[in-house]
Subunit: 390 residues, 2 copies
């Protein structure tokens, strides 16, 4: 699977972003538009306190057809009660009026601080005339949804054996351990795909990609992953499309992991030989989420006994200590549950890479899973000790 | 329940500590002795990779009688295979020889880096003559088991209505989310208590105290909590003893939380109105463990929407958003699932206390639970990015 060197939107899709006054100067309002109706599917956060845009989005996506997505950053419109939902509806209506469609075909996203009223007037004013800014470059849209991301996140790919394009636009950074979806991830394609199939393929793709991603174990109240297929490139081979969809979600999950709040290294944890799928996923996540693993990776400290600690705290999983092996970037450090006598300097050197891959072989079954994350740094503490105030 | 101003050991107990060469100069070897056989109970880590002292300790505690505990810091003797268990047995035998008892009456603990062979010769040499150092001051023993703790941890209390004393000696700091016990916590008493009752009361006390404590969600491979009752003060009222035992474990859990690695504030999370005990404990722990809550507390940032996020990510718990209220150090910040319009400065000020207490009322049942933890700081990252190498 090869991504385009310069990412682009599929035919019929345009986007734009603006500063509408929520942030001092940076883009804080983004609009993504399909020139024709697009078949759509989406998955949302399972958090018990979903934001107003999620409550509305679940209603909107039942229609199965979208023309646009409108998103703002800085304020997530969560824990804002009925007024929050009314504001989300006003946001959909304002975007619909601007591009000439109905509010039920506009998906709304908001991201930022929880519990602050949405400045809906600023957003409504900001949307006026935005149609004139729409262009085929995906970058302005990706910039408009950033919060603590250090760079806009866009990937695109041609579906093998076809003329169709898939484009992924996402934001990530923190409060990320999605369960049914991730932060904001929008997928646009000009392939023609039936709604039920699109929904099924989206859920399958998300399961092993965004749902295996964790920056900090905290699950956002705003997570949304939506796919819009406008059909302008005609039908595609379903297998090729599904594989491309998953490959892009995987690549985007790694892009988000690498840009986790304060992160200096990406962490990839591969578990194999697990008793079943549950154990493989659970153990991969436990290692990926362990603060002591994350700080070890940050410091390139070859304190590899912590890998056994993190496996061992999965009380309800099947573990055979005598059959447990582990590797750090290809160097075996644990064999049969015992730490090998390795040269500290060699493993320390192996840990100083941009991506650290920890592999674990459990020797008790045939299931495997991979989790994605990042190191834990002082930068994460700095960002999150003053996120609201800054 | 009032603790002694100057903690002391119960009658018949003595302790000592020494530097035996594991650390450069600080005490690294501790010995606790009862002059007569003591009835004993203990709970150990549930980690799948228990240290050699845990493997041996489970065997030892089945005897139900102890005369001594010997503990070293710097090296945890975990993931060291059969040789590790042989070394733990040698450590018990050496302590037994020094004080004139048998190895099956000596409980062994080791704490420190995982996966490094135990320097057993240094420990054996260190134990020689240590009997002559034994004294009734608990401080040398508490100092001898410290790792990243910033101070020795000792509490003592007279059991109400009796002449009996209970003394708690513990170490904490990091890799702390015990499940069947906590790090190293030793409880000594001269009360006379039957073994089955002692075991039952220990498990009851640990459940709501050490088992609700988390510094960093990581479960040590060495957790041990043991109680020794030598009976020299005669029988006590069982209810008074059980209440005192729990009160001391609670106080010690808070002492450990407050001294978590890098911590600047203690965090106490009280959940009430939960559907059942499982939900109350699960939600209290989820809030207590959330990196975004912990950094908010660190920065005294009134980003209280994160409390709802952390409750909401407990997918399998019963939550009624409209009935969810929350308080920060007594200031109500959430009502009916909505963030209240409060003065930021007031809540920011409320957060600048040595202990931050978050209270949540779920309004769906009658169960409650309290969890104990600390803030997440750059100090935690510093300590754990180079724990092995430093």
């Amino acid at each position: 699977m090869t991504f385009h060197t310069t990412p682009r939107l599929p035919r019929g899709f345009t986007c734009a972003s603006r500063n509408c006054g929520l942030k001092p100067t940076a883009s804080d309002l983004a609009l993504f538009v399909s020139e024709v109706d697009a078949t759509a599917a989406a998955v949302f956060t399972r958090n018990h306190f979903p934001g107003a845009p999620i409550i509305l989005g679940r209603e909107t996506i039942r229609g199965g057809t979208l023309r646009a997505i409108v998103a703002n950053s800085k304020c997530s419109n969560v824990a804002t009660g009925d007024e929050g939902v009314r504001n989300a509806r006003r946001m959909a209506a304002a975007a619909a009026a601007e591009i000439g469609t109905t509010a039920d075909r506009v998906l709304v996203s908001s991201t930022g601080v929880i519990g602050v009223p949405l400045p809906i007037e600023k957003i409504e004013r900001g949307l006026v005339g935005m149609r004139g800014d729409l262009g085929t470059d995906p970058m302005p849209g990706a910039e408009g949804i950033m919060t603590t991301d250090t760079h806009p996140k866009v990937l695109s790919m041609t579906v093998p054996g076809s003329d169709a394009t898939i484009t992924w636009i996402a934001k990530g950074a923190g409060m990320i351990e999605p369960n049914m979806a991730t932060m904001l991830a929008y997928i646009f394609t000009d392939a023609r795909v039936e709604r039920e199939e699109l929904d099924r393929m989206l859920r399958a793709a998300v399961r092993d990609t965004f749902n295996m991603l964790s920056i900090d174990t905290d699950t956002s109240t705003s997570d949304t992953c939506a796919v819009l297929a406008n059909g302008l490139a005609g039908p595609v081979d379903a297998t090729a499309f599904g594989e491309a969809l998953t490959a892009g979600c995987l690549a985007m999950a790694e892009v988000i992991a690498r840009d986790g709040e304060g992160a200096t290294r990406m962490l990839r944890v591969k578990v194999r030989g697990a008793k079943d799928d549950h154990d493989a996923r659970y153990i991969a996540k436990a290692i990926n989420n362990s603060p002591l693993i994350k700080t070890m990776v940050h410091g390139a400290d070859p304190n590899v006994g912590r890998i056994l600690m993190a496996i061992g705290k999965c009380f309800d999983c099947t573990i055979a200590p005598d059959r447990t092996d582990a590797w750090v970037n290809g160097h075996q450090v644990v064999q049969g549950g015992r730490r090998l006598a390795f040269e500290d300097a060699v493993v320390r050197q192996a840990l100083t890479t941009d991506t650290v891959e920890l592999e674990v072989s459990l020797g008790v079954g045939a299931s495997s899973a991979t989790a994605f994350g990042c190191d834990l740094t002082k930068g994460y503490v700095d960002e999150n000790a003053a996120y609201y105030s800054s």
